[in-house]
Amino acid sequence: MKDDVTSREDRVANLKGMGCERKRVEDARFTQGKGNYVDDIKLDGMLAGDFVRSPYAHARVVSIDTEAALQVPGVLAVLTAKDLEPLGLHWMPTLAGDKQMVLADGKVLFQGQEVAFVVAEDRFAAADGVEAVEVEYEELPVIVDPFEALKTDVVLREDLDPNADGAHGPRKHPNHIFTWEAGEKEATEQVLDAAEVVAEENIYYHRTHPCPLETCGCVASMDKVNGKLTLYGTFQAPHAIRTVVSLISGIEEHNIRVVSPDIGGGFGNKVGAYPGYVCSVVASIVTGKPVKWIEDRMDNLMTTAFARDYHMHGKISATKEGKITGLWCHTTADHGGFDACADPTKFPAGFMNICTGSYDIPTAYLAVDGVYTNKAPGGVAYRCSFRVTEAAYFIERMIEVLAIELGMDAAELRRINFIKKEQFPYHSALGWEYDSGDYHTAWDKALKAVDYDGLRKEQAERVEAFKRGETRKLMGIGLTHFTEIVGAGPVKNCDILGLGMFDSCEIRIHPTGSAIARLGTISQGQGHATTFAQILATEIGLPADSITIEEGDTDTAPYGLGTYGSRSTPVAGAATAMAGRKIRAKAQMIAAYLLEVHDDDVEFDVDRFVIKGAPERFKTMKEIAFAAYNQAIPGIEPGLEAVSYYDPPNMTYPFGAYICVMEIDVDTGEHEIRQFYALDDCGTRINPMIIEGQVHGGLTEALAIAMGQEIAYDEMGNCKTGTLMDFFLPTAWETPNYTTDHTVTPSPHHPIGAKGVGESPNVGGVPAFSNAVHDAFRPFGLRQSHMPHDHWRIWKTANDLGLHD
């Protein structure tokens, strides 16, 4: 290799390291239908399980008759709570410190709740078996409104001692779960009382659902000969699932192997544990055969983890000039029948206390009350960090309402209140330390890119034309400047069920200069196999194409807390870089030995170590890898491997400026997105192409949520949106064009300065779309309306404002 004449530029390009638009290595199999999803797994003698589900939202289970079902050809067993009780598995712990029925134990608390589990030779027999199980119910009063839940005598959770504390402290009512507070209550109230201007509003962020294209499911296989349980499933956190399975089943952790194969989207829906997993494991133990359970679409939408459902009451105070002085928020959180939120233990309302947003608000107070209702459990972070979309929507609506109160332009109001670049690291009134940011630069760039002043002029002309009767369309300009908080997180304050939220990477360099790296995370479409290899390529100087990334098998991958909350890059990405640096440190010693100089006399250069001042004398990483295994080097163990467990010192705080220009037909309630500009600052950018894809996907989910997607119930607790006919999932037809842009403000504490990006577009997108709707009607007096802004709700807004008269 001494005659190597490749230019440094070519050597950098050859690595396909950080910053390049490396094509996704996953796509070769996904675009050819060669993915391996959980429903593709077929094991010898595999059985199928399916649930009998409650048609009622609140009822006593009087009796369950399984006799007819057991007569159905192919049906082998029907499990009920009575069968699970001797094993102590009729209830299971939730990630939020509550417990949840695996199968109905005397009563049901939401429509679709699991009542019995039918095990059959195939899924067709299982479905016939489900049909044949006869359950007698006695209906109970249904509570779907969380405010009513806190007043009624109807007790939903009769299993809980009404006088005992819950997992997060005292409970005020049998249907109350917790109160969680941040900031200073009295000080905030004093600021509000003394303020020159106060704006107050009720902001409801409706219930919706992550709706991954692949529903949840698993295959449980208990090998009775060696006592080993293998559980394949759609798990966003396979190691956490292994630990939970061990804790509740008593099977030792080394005898449990959890495998997440390819996952077709998660978006928070696949973080928690579901009754189907427990029942499949029990059924496999009982029958001695593998048991598969796969949800259908209705099961998924109606029973697995929903998102949002936050009723937020806000007050924001400012000087007459618009300088914000205080923020107060009380949230009533509808958690459904069980508290199955997936939040770090100390944060039962997630990171809702990021609700001061991008603004320098000196005094603030937040309280959240969690409440039980007769709805499905959940409350997961749907393409966002824990409750961060709720927080961003709250503050970005409150800013708009304050702008109306002040008679100010909402862009200018934001600008004069942004945290300034020199204030970072910034300590927020609600307890966070923002790592880095440059909001003014991003904001000015965004406003300029869309010609904000020109848009406002056009909008004013449109309003005049509307008033003259020349058009029936209004124009809205939706502004958002959001700050995310991702990368949970520091073990000192972030754990789930006591499991610290570090993450990990283990690297093995092969003798010929290729490598495998395994991580504690699991891709669900994010492209980890592409991007983590890029991080490593830059860190260890081997081409990304020569590095295999493997995740999801707990027998081989190092322990980690999985992928959600944009934590993979901030935490596992950091672990990858740190493990890479350990490899490099050893490589440096080997290089120095081979070059017959002191360790300090060589330095890393793209793909090699060179002698300082004599770059023509070098050893490539490929040569070093071979030597590491095959040459006896005094004082150095053979091999080239490293492991890093990374406990981040802080969260990361990606931010962005989004602007949506929308046309609204006041007569039909239809909308058209004319322009959407998204500027994201996610710190160091690993793969711009993947970032753009992430932003497009997140914005499209944000569009869905803001403009039509909801989980709606009638007063009897019937889910009205259990199919994709009524649950809005945008297609290419409904999806507008997006313009993406960026600034780069690296995280000062992250090894490569990266912050995470996958969830930013959902966090910023929802308020941008919603603010555009509100902005269109602002000239006619609208302050607040509720999402989703589907046709009839927009029509109603117009109607209430007298625009149809």
Binding site: R123, F124, D667, F728, T731, W733, H791, W792, W795, H804
Partner: protein
């Protein structure tokens, strides 16, 4: 989402279909494209022990454009309607409407016959066929009969077709004048919040003939004779359109669903009909 077990029949001709229907009675249903029936079976809302697939039955396909009439075989897909240039010349409203039904994948399977025979108030073709004054050909054990589309629909999923009959074709006069199919929906693949089919014939400066039907605003499609009459003899100005809309609003009876409450649907029905009439008149 797994249906109960059923027997699958794939007869080759109409006599074989009729024989199966006679043999199994209420236990049998014919299936065209399957886009309504199969989901109902998967939800176990329809229990069909004997499913008779019409895919291989001779003589149910084809679009025949005559001098005065158009005949469309029941198994003609929505995609076929879009692709047929002769049909576009004879009744262009069909292409405009078919493009607003579902998505390309569904349109390759969904058929005209299935769409009109099922009696689902959400389907687009029934209202459209009423607008065109189509006749439905029904074949049963007693032979063939024709029923006007305007008399065919009795209530949701209830039609003039007897259980032992099969709808084999639709026929309607070649159309003249201006047309429009206007539909508001929440998203691709959705049924209409409101949809209007309008055919207008212009003579001099006045409207000589008018036929107007709307979809998904009652438990059957609504062909409003009064709405059409309100336009005939007028110059289809604002006042006449308003009269037509008023007449239509007197005939529809929408119910609340996830698309919105009744007041919204009635308002949108008026807006959609106004737009359809304006567009049809501009083409007349």
């Amino acid at each position: 989402m797994i249906p109960a077990a059923f027997e699958y029949h794939r007869p080759k001709d109409i006599p074989a279909v009729l024989a199966l229907l006679e043999e199994h009675g209420d236990d049998a249903r014919v299936m065209a494209g399957g886009h309504s029936l199969i989901p109902m079976m998967k939800l176990r809302m329809a229990d069909i022990p004997h499913l008779i697939d019409l895919q291989d039955v001779d003589g149910l396909g084809g679009i025949a454009i005559g001098e005065d009439t158009v005949r469309i075989g029941a198994m003609t897909t929505q995609a076929d309607l879009i692709d047929h240039d002769g049909l576009f010349a004879a009744a262009p409203i069909l292409r405009e409407a078919a493009f607003q039904i579902a998505d390309p994948q569904v349109r390759y399977m969904g058929t005209v016959g299935g769409n009109v025979a099922n009696g689902d108030p959400g389907n687009d073709m029934p209202g459209l066929m009423q607008c065109l004054d189509a006749q439905f050909t029904l074949v049963g054990p007693d032979g063939e009969r024709r029923v006007p589309a305007r008399d065919f629909y009795e209530a949701a999923y209830m039609t003039a077709r007897a259980d032992e009959e099969v709808l084999t074709a639709v026929t309607f006069p070649r159309q003249a004048g201006g047309y429009a199919y206007e539909k508001q929906k929440r998203k691709i693949g959705d049924y209409a919040t409101a949809a209007a089919a309008v055919q207008l014939v212009k003579d001099g400066g006045a409207c000589a003939e008018a036929s107007i039907a709307m979809t998904n605003l009652s438990d059957t499609p609504i062909w409003s004779e009064a709405a059409g009459a309100a336009l005939v003899g007028t110059g289809v100005d604002g006042a006449a359109i308003k009269d037509a809309v008023t007449a239509m609003l007197g005939d529809i009876d929408p119910s609340e669903d996830n698309r919105g409450p009744v007041a919204f649907k009635r308002h949108v029905a008026g807006v959609i009909l106004t737009r359809a009439i304006e567009r049809a008149w501009s083409r007349a």
